[in-house]
Symmetry: C4
Subunit: 246 residues, 4 copies
């Protein structure tokens, strides 16, 4: 952590930075992040409505602690601007902002606190694995983009088709193409809630054709990513072996 | 763009062709295509029913613009026939035809305008990626065809089986094999709307066996395509590396 | 077609065998097989109930034709036994048997006629592709068997678990483990009809865990087959290239 | 089976150990395990309620037999502790414990008997295949862990999002984030029972985006395992070939 920037830091800042970057402080923050995520979930549970006052207190405690941490991190940062506009700097701000601003309905954005969860993974093997995955994916980004465009076209055409067949029979479910798009996505991802489905013979035949083709089309990207991740691992293993041989 | 055909073109045609093939004209057409696709979707929305008159006007504007473009493209084409029967020539005609013909119910074919969307991708990396994907797929076309035939057989036999078990219990849903085929497709693609499902013990046991085998069978082509696309990328990467080494 | 067996054939048999194995006869039989399959489907459609008499006549025509073909094939076979107990000999018999036997409910087995569909593919690229696929699969048969056993165990344990959580809440849907197995299969294949689903908190948490693990487990065999088919194609291509180089 | 431990065994122990480890005893135990599993399933079937007394007797017989086997195995074990705390030692105890303890509701744990099913596979090719699969998987354990964490984050965020959009419209289904998590899991695994689904426009658009991304994300691990198993097989085959060449 000793680099050129540190020259502009006072002794106090240097000592505090060591603490902030140290394992104890990091562990406490990780615990607070998880606790805030769990509290947010429990707070929505009707069974705990009578404890609302306690949840509000806990919320304020989290706000104070996260705000203090944010100010501390700015204080110890050798270059303030760099921290404020860094990935974690923005996330840390987003995590406290919703509780500060008093616009009604805005508080729900406390869910953004959850983004701080990435702090937990900072400098861990998880980030390493994700980095390697993103690198592997970048090798098939043209194929992925093409598949995404084809899938979007397919959803559009499926929605237009089913709208044509079902609009008079089921005007409440297929009365417009945006409505039909809801059906198209629920069908082609194979979720199939059963809230909307074709009832005319034409609509059913159209669905049969569209489903057999589209379900396969939309499943390809996922399989592609799986294959690429395996390839990446194999190549890496081979590199390791070559290095071992040297 | 200067080839033998151009000899038959007048100076005006040559100048216009340059404009038509240029980036500005192309950009305007791409915007119009997307605008027409969005308009078509919005027009079906009940909430916009009161603006129907405006949508009709916009429709006519699109018709005039696309027709003008079509005539212009024929005019500048060195060999008229070649353009008219080319892929994009036919699509351009299909995009204006439905609005011209006044047969009721025929106007819905304006959805064909959407085919013009492919113009947007013309000469872009998207077409390149799709081309490479089609090439990769052609290597497993025998396997794909075999899997499609096997899946079709499976759907047929599944429909016959469930019809046998459920036809008396649920005559409205499984009264005939075509009805049962609707069930077979919704089940084997794992959509499972829940509008039709077996209720007899025999039908449920039959479904259990059919689902465990058939769901896997029908998912294979998708995984096959994903694997082949990855293989194609790996081979291509290796070629690139070999060329780099030279 | 001239081999040792033929010595025991009369001239008539030899001439008839040539016709039976020829493309014209083969084409007619293929048409009849498809026609019988389509007729079987249409016959079950209520809309055609008034034409039942015609369907019965057509059924009898098919029976006579297929029976004649069967007898003819036995007649021309150099070694009768060999044909009768061959794959296609048994299928040809199964195709006519259900119509001959007059046990009620037995006629539904006319669906077996459909097995004759394999005659259509005889000596075609389809059989070749299927053969190659079966060969590729035999290389992972141990993995497939292990996955099938693991999946069966998983379905059993999932059924026991959900039965434990839901049996008192929903006795009609989860009253016994066989009932719960229906749920387990519909859930783990991700069909999810929605006819049965957990309603207790315990059952939902159990389902969440079971679904996340089990859905992945049951999808593995399908992906495995897809990967293996690709590998088989790659190896074959490499062999072809090596042979080309020689 | 003759090793240092055996020195502490009496002649009777040695003889009994030979029997216990022999194929006849093993076969009987395997039959009893399967019989116990089937009995457990049938016992829950309402149709057999009148035979409850017989099932109780059979249960006691299984208990006596499995207890006797457990005691016998301890007796013949050269080092008692080693057997008792071994994988199969613990499973054997778990299989008899639930029937011994008389706490009500505890008997359901007889399902644990099913764990004894692994005894059936002991020292068979199944265990070998599973071992090889686990080894192959350990090579992608970092990727798997990263995908599991990402999926968990995705489920959490999807639940928070849908709760925000639907909580006022459908308080009984989306009233709290834990409730919304049930929806998130049923949707992202594509089960889609249809018991809960979004009804607001915002909720549907959110679901469309979440489903298209999340369904793909959650399907990746399964495809990854399939690919890795294939790679492992290919590598193994190559090793075999290399050994053949030597």
């Amino acid at each position: 952590m000793l680099n050129d920037y540190n020259e502009g830091q006072s002794n106090l800042q240097k000592k505090l930075e060591e603490i902030v970057e140290g394992p104890v402080f990091s562990g406490i923050i990780q615990f607070l992040i998880l606790a805030a995520a769990v509290t947010f979930v429990l707070e929505t549970e009707e069974a705990f409505d009578e404890y609302k006052i306690y949840f509000d207190i806990v919320d304020w405690v989290f706000l104070v602690l996260f705000s203090a941490e944010y100010i501390l991190r700015i204080y110890v940062a050798p270059v303030k601007k760099e921290f404020i506009f860094s990935f974690f700097g923005i996330i840390d701000l987003l995590a406290i902002l919703p509780s500060l601003v008093l616009i009604p309905g805005f508080r729900v954005l406390r869910v953004l606190r959850f983004l701080r969860i990435f702090r937990i993974f900072k400098a861990t093997r998880f980030i390493l694995a994700v980095d390697r995955m993103i690198e592997a994916l970048s090798g098939v980004k043209r194929e992925l983009l093409a598949l995404v465009i084809l899938s979007a076209l397919f959803v559009y055409l499926a929605a237009c088709g089913i709208w044509y067949f079902e609009r008079f029979e089921q005007p409440e479910a297929f009365g417009s193409i945006p409505d039909a798009m809801w059906w198209a996505i629920v069908t082609l991802t194979t979720i199939g809630y059963g809230d909307v489905y074709p009832e005319t013979a034409g609509g059913k035949i159209f669905t049969a054709v569209v489903a057999l083709v589209g379900v396969g089309l939309i499943a390809i990207p996922s399989g592609l990513l799986a294959s690429v991740l395996t390839e990446a691992r194999v190549e890496e293993d081979e590199k390791d072996e070559e290095e071992d041989e040297k």
